[in-house]
Symmetry: C2
Subunit: 130 residues, 2 copies
DNA sequence: CCGGATCCTGGTCGATACTG
DNA sequence: CAGTATCGACCAGGATCCGG
């Protein structure tokens, strides 16, 4: 017997109740800078660094986008923000446990890319050859 | 001794040579519909279905976006497209091995969301309360 | 040093209408 | 049925300037 497809809303990704959350997460870390910030922070001593430091670590990012992306990550509990009342101002960001815990799952993708990306590139070349 | 940071280009995500590829992949599956299509196809018999079938499975998607997303996935070697010269036209799409192989790594994210998403939500509420 | 305020541009996506 | 064509809204993100 063929099982009838239950109506799944676009939020039910994977038929999973957290589908919407999954899509949100992918959208977030799929944006232009988030993943770079997370990785950059993860490589700093104590997974911690100040604004200008992160800025220098990530070539091409503008101050605006750095601020914005950090805010989003802070809002999501991935990083903390600590302001030191000095002159000149100093602000330090640090990866939270939550943020660090994302590095694990990410490794799955990294491995996949390592083993399969060449296939994707070949597929593209073949496809574009038309 | 403190190890001096090598200049890493924005393409060197994770200090990994495939960094650009990783970002590309995340951007692709982080877009609005790709992940839904992959999952939808993976649940069909033989990971295969026709255009209208997929369309009905994914509420809210427009014909335009369905076509576009399928094209992208086809170009990346994630799905195949087979046209049957009949009237009315029939076109079937099928997940490739490559496409299926992505489901594994994805599971890591799914699990992460399952165990950690509530933390994200709590962080957001706390943050927004200002 | 950090980051807010503005302005602007290109790209993504939805709506709609039309074809082989 | 399975698309293509066209238009327009919206928004991510870049450039730039200013301010505590």
């Amino acid at each position: 017997m063929t099982k009838k497809n239950k109506n799944l809303s676009p939020e039910d990704v994977c038929g999973h109740k957290d589908g919407a959350a999954i899509r949100e997460l992918l959208t977030r870390i799929g944006d232009k800078w988030s993943i770079l910030l997370i990785v950059a922070l993860s490589k700093m001593p104590k997974q911690r660094g100040r604004f200008s430091e992160i800025d220098r670590t990530i070539p091409g990012i503008t101050q605006r986008m750095l601020t914005l992306t950090l805010r989003n990550l802070e809002r999501d509990g991935m990083v903390t923000r600590e302001v030191f009342p000095e002159v000149p101002p100093r602000v330090e960001y640090q990866l939270t446990n939550l943020g660090q815990s994302l590095l694990g799952p990410m490794q799955g993708f990294v491995d996949w890319v390592g083993s399969r990306w060449s296939d994707v590139r070949k597929a593209r070349e073949k496809f574009d050859k038309r």
